[in-house]
Amino acid sequence: MAERIIEFDRVVAGYSESLTILNETTLDVRKGEITLLIGPNGAGKSTVLKTLFGLLVPRSGEVRFEGRVINGRSQRALLADGIAFVPQGRNLFGSLSVRHNLELGGITLPRAELPGRIEEVLARFPRIRERIDNQASTMSGGEQKQLEVGRALLLRPRVLLIDEPSIGLSPKLVVDVMTLLRQLAEAGTTVLMVEQNVRTALKYSDRALVLEMGRLALDRPASELLGDPDLNRLFLGGHAPAVPGVAA
């Protein structure tokens, strides 16, 4: 089994004192794998990513990266550690050009390294190169997502957190994004992905974690879950069947 690179250890977090979303959540992500985080709407999937990326500070419990506690660390520090986050929805600066969006993604890099890194990203995304001097808001949804991912890759992250990348994309583009994530994982990047498009995402993932009401309800290899006749029931609001060895 690959080593654990990210661990949540009985993490309690929420958006206010009275609103607890993650309720002693315990889970882990393994190095070099694509871990798919799924579950019903409002289960707290996005909250897991936000807590991991320091946007929410746990009230108790520990979030660990490579064994070190990273509770509430600043985004700059996390980026420097090699964790990048592509949140749900639109995350570009629409008024700026594509190039400027990319440059902002490299704001924490030494100035001299930036051109080389941008070239690296453009080589991977020819479509972005074509639009490099356009205003970001004029790009199609698919292009924007590519740019967001490209921008995150600028820092050559060791861990990529990505929240519902397929939203608003055509099936073909979804496959493109998934293929890209697979390539990254093959090259050693750890990916933690939240996705509603469960069937497609499972095909490209190594492992699936099911979150329900802020707790891990299921932890299985993706291929196994994909063959599970219960799969549909699981995501149509039903409860996960009890699986031996997983604390509900």
């Binding site: 946007l55 985004q75 700059r76 980026l79 420097a80 600066f93 700026l96 924490t108």
Partner: protein
Amino acid sequence: MSAGLRRTVLLVAGLAALVAVAAFAKRSEVYLLTLTLVYLMATFGLNLTVGYAGQMSLGQAAFFGIGAYVAAIALKAGIPFLAVLPIAGIACFVVGLALGFPALRVQHHYLAFATLGFNVLVFLVMRNEEKLTGGTFGISSIPRPTILGVSFEGHLAYFYFTLAGLVALAAALWWLLRSPWGRAFAALRDNPIRAESLGVNITAYTLLAFAIGAACAGVGGVYYASLVEFIEPGPFHFSTSLMMLLAVIVGGSGRFFGPVVGTIVIILLPEVLRSSSIESLKFMQKWYLVFFGLAVVALMIWLPGGILSIADRFRKREAPR
């Protein structure tokens, strides 16, 4: 024509028109135009704080005043104008950092309170520290510059001199906002949380925006002192800060040329109406404040993005993205 080219042509045409108009204008009108340019330096700077960093500052007139008093004292001591500019700018930048650093660490609206208190304090110092500031009597006989043997003593010469200074200041800000690291200011304006998620140090950039904005006001203050040749605390009252803030918001905060429109509407127009001898405008003199207040309220309700956002509305209607 691309939007960038159109803007450049418009800008050059506007500047050329200004240069020509001033040459034929009356002395008092040139004075008023120069005064507007001077205020513009301060509002351009304030736009960085308000429009880009999203902070309310109620103390821009205090920095303007610090610049003016530094200039008055330094110019009278014989320090050349071009040396006084960086002195005043840096002084305001440093004071801005010192004021902004603790304020921005606390909470968002704290800067508004801190700058308000600061403005009141600076005003009191100007009024009461007679030895340094001349108190209510102020400082008179502030000289206008002579640079490399060229005198800018005359009202028209000083207008052109100030215009050149404003263009240089605006160009510097333009360059700053387009430099790779200055782009973070635009990111901050568009969405601070997104910016932070990319590793932009929000606190540092916000503080920097505020301090640079303060420095611009300081520079404006230097030009002001030399323009009016006599300064006293009055013009640096907190109410001037409010007018400057209003100018930025009314023009369209976070738009580069927003302060130009706002400063014309808030600072130049009332003066034009007040000093006008045309009968129909005399009526306006009486009612201007009432009309003006209503207009600002209406604007904030129907056009919260400021006057310059009108263009956006039309563009959106034509071609929705």
